[in-house]
Symmetry: D2
């Protein structure tokens, strides 16, 4: 059994990881850290099904873990990666610290100096697009939730160069409230978030724009400008990205659909819906899957709709998928 | 036009009062206090339809108000009542400070000495049960949300002595999240409250037990023990109380129903549903009404179900109803 | 008092109209038709605050009404307009029957021949854009919900010719479930719609595309192609449209914002938010208002966000606003 | 691998069973029946993660199944049990057909003659209370959702005779909307159920009263009258039962709590919360567990709160637990 340490288990991503690991045939939670609640038990802090003692970070038992999953704020995470590597423990980092390839990009999007630039670049843990780099990696940068949906939605198109180069791609997205984290903020109070729907950080200000553009450039072989408009959605979990992209004139939907089906034919976690069908959160919540739909809005303008569970394929599930790859397990182990 | 000052307008009850006053034909908001956000405008603090400058309590313009509505924490409210009376301004106090008739009762349920015992007893502002005391009152204690539903539900029975004296009445109730206030708490985070349902303070620990028993004793002419189990319900607003009460043997439902219909025949805000119908929140939300249903569970055991909107009949609407009475207006003015 | 007949009162729009008319100082519901539930009372059919006898359409008392509001399916509505006009009764038609100016456009978007082509064109009842045509109109076509948000969002831009002519405008929109009507469908079952978010009829297939393009062309003086992606949102009510539009190079946000503020300065129901603020459903639900925000995503690409309550400004409230204009009342009467 | 056939897979319980079986290490879905959608694929009918061809009941391949799970309406289920047994296939029946021990009881609560009285009595599949009868059973009656929560909540008390014999037990319960099934009804429309809370069938009219009283009598060794008030709760899933029961005078909470802890010490799916803690749906949704809290409301009056997921411990999860017992597997297999 792979022994997993979890940092930040009282956060939504850390907790979700622990829930999935309960079902994993070859891995189990060895210990868990919650800096804010150290000394308590998890069941006292989170009224859910799990229970575990909560350790301070300084009490992490590195010798009792083969890998750690980091559900930590950015900044804190990188320092924990350094500590883990000093003890020879592998890491899947769910924070943003290792997602951007250079300290300059980090400074541009997250502000300030990178806390551990020697860790960069780290392999970007989106297995469907980058599997070859992940099997031997001791440290993996788990992708952001929005970028996961956008990259899986656009990859078959951009890899084949079927988009119009240089044209801005518009990503209109909505995320369930768990994506905003467990910290207390007025707009996350039930009465403010429920029966509401609100755009935030729209344009090019959300930090995930940098991550998306970095990875899209890699897929397309050239820069791809993105305009991104996220919205807070009154559900527990789930992301739907509605993506507007200019495609080569003359491309028809059947050909594009065939390309998508072929590209993801062997992928257990990606489902390209039949022509005419559109993904909904119900296709994917509580699964590690991404569901994708294609619609030709008018000649030359494709709408790609892509749905994931932000806590699973957008965080904890993908982290376990990456962990499976790191340890040579079946990539789907524990994720059905 | 009656000029109304509102204290605590950024809270849910204060804001709701201001919303209803927009529609009032004979009253209008003159100014509003928010101690925490003084100097800002309301629209900056609450993303809703209203906008007003927010004053500090010390800047309240007493000369420009005929009455103040207090949506304040208990303790703070009583001191504000004293200040208002010194300026000859009438008060409807939505806090708990004036609901209990004696300082001893206040100390027992709220802890500590009453901040202004000279104000006690104040008339209890449930017009359907206590209208005669309200017309000339300069200060009215606006009832608690749960007690409003329970008292309206039980009054016709207890006034007629149809219950079994001394038997415990069980009140199982559920309230929308706005009832817990706008302050930030972990259990009110959207992700914790949504898709959840949780009992809290059950038994005889909730502070509204004291208020209910005080008023029920007044109706029955003798003490009526209450066991109370409130639950947090994932909706914006609304209270449903399901009340189990032992009634005199031999009473049949038709007779009881007739009694209720007669008791409330002239009440514009109370609706006794036909036999066989049960109230739901949808009957009452966004109205100042109480809907009541009666079910004979078994001989001698009656179930009364009573629904209100906790922010309207349970708070701001009832406050305006009381204000209307204070100023000799039509009791329903501004409340349709 | 203006006497109002309501057709389709058990539907969400008809019911909402009746609720608002309870508060109207100069109008009241005279009678109400529900073909499916004729002979029952409204409170038996809809568990809400209202009660009225329900008439069959054939029993409509034309002599007892000055105006009728039609919350009817398209096709049925036009025939009812004809009947009303034969009796000299004014009409606000909330259906789609009179929104498109020609029978050809109707056939293209709704299928089949128009049931009463002699009624076309009818004045389009969006007062902020077309007030001059409405005061003397005996029949008004009440706009669609989505088009109301989109037209108010785009009008200041297109009227001034600040967009790039011929470029497709992308409208990504989300509507609360009441927008889908009260009829039973599997995707509207609580368990399917709750905790879900789903695109539908995206591209150029939704019928509101025809209505939007017709009115946008009128504003711009030339055709404006629209791509429209509506989504079903798990809330009771509310529409948020996130609109992506190419604007003239060199335009800055401050100038655009000034233009919007000026255009709507005298409009009681339109609120242009400060630069940097974005509308949410909470700004507008249960009001007849539209809240608009402007964001320059990148040079030349403007994001307009516009929120309304689909049942109020998107249906019943706007119908009452139109009725007020028809009868020379204050346009805001009954709508605060 | 145990081969499982599912009848009624498009219903919520059948679908949930298929989802859990995806994770089961020793069982898998062999085929699935949906009479209403036979010939289609599951993904066409239910927009969720699963896909399977849907068979007509007449095409069930009995030779390819070791056991069938029946998510069928009562009446239809019993006839399917007969067919399964004729082919030597084991059955877990999730309907009500086999829960009552006699045809007379069935007729009293469900109306009409029992469709297959020769099947009665069938072992009642609540393993924590009746495990000994289940290992060798070819047919098991899976308990109702509400009774599961109530029986687990009351068993330790009644088995020990700590209640006051003959006193009515009051069960106030709330269930998520999936408990009402996938069929279309007006009160299950999203707009009617959301932001609502409504009692239904309160008193002694709900069919689960008969089932509860039968099993409670078995635990107590004498009849136990129940008054039951269920409420429809705006969540996807989950049941909370708040149970009021008279207990022997002098019993203190610590002793009762000890009794509960001891009774369930070896049960993997029952969690007795610490004194002072109360169960919420969040403790149990998406798990096969029951969480129980105890509160002494006043001397002699105990409040038991018990939470389950109605689709898991209240239906599909418990069915798999029963299936595991039938086949000699670890009772928890596939249920973490």
């Amino acid at each position: 059994m792979i022994r997993v340490g979890i940092f930040g288990i009282t956060g939504y991503a850390g907790y979700e990881a622990a829930r999935w690991l309960e079902r994993h045939p070859a891995a189990k939670v060895a210990w868990a850290v919650s800096e804010a609640s150290a000394g308590k038990r998890l069941a006292e802090v989170v009224p859910g099904p799990l229970d575990l003692p909560l350790l301070a970070a300084g009490d992490a038992d590195w010798g009792a873990a083969d890998v750690v999953l980091l559900g930590l704020p950015h900044g804190v995470a990188a320092r924990t990666v350094v500590a883990a590597r000093q003890h020879g423990v592998k890491v899947v980092d769910l924070s943003a610290d290792l997602r951007l390839r250079t300290p300059e990009a980090y400074a541009a999007w997250y502000g300030g100096a990178h806390p551990a630039p020697e860790l960069l670049p780290a392999p970007y843990g989106l297995p469907e697009l980058n599997r070859a780099a992940l099997g031997d990696a001791p440290v993996i940068a788990n992708p952001g939730c929005y970028p996961t949906s956008v990259l899986l939605g656009l990859a078959p198109l951009l890899e084949a160069g079927l988009h119009v180069p240089g044209e801005t791609i518009i990503v209109n997205a909505a995320s369930g409230v768990s994506g905003a984290g467990r910290g207390l903020k007025q707009n996350l109070h039930y009465v403010e978030a429920n029966e509401n729907f609100s755009p935030y950080n729209i344009g090019r200000t959300h930090r995930h724009v940098g991550e998306m553009e970095q990875e899209l450039a890699g897929l397309a072989g050239a820069g791809v400008p993105v305009v991104f408009a996220p919205h807070l959605l009154p559900v527990q979990r789930g992301i739907l990205s509605t993506i507007y992209v200019r495609v080569q004139p003359g491309l028809d939907l059947a050909a594009l659909h065939g390309r998508y089906r072929e590209r993801y034919a062997a992928e257990p976690f990606v489902r390209v819906l039949p022509v005419g069908a559109l993904p909904a959160l119900s296709h994917v919540v509580h699964t590690n899957r991404c569901a994708i739909g294609l619609t030709m809005a008018q000649p030359g303008l494709l709408i790609i709709t892509a749905a994931i569970d932000n806590l699973v394929k957008g965080a904890a599930g993908q982290a376990i998928q990456n962990m499976n790859l790191m340890f040579g397990l079946d990539e789907t182990a524990g994720l059905s």
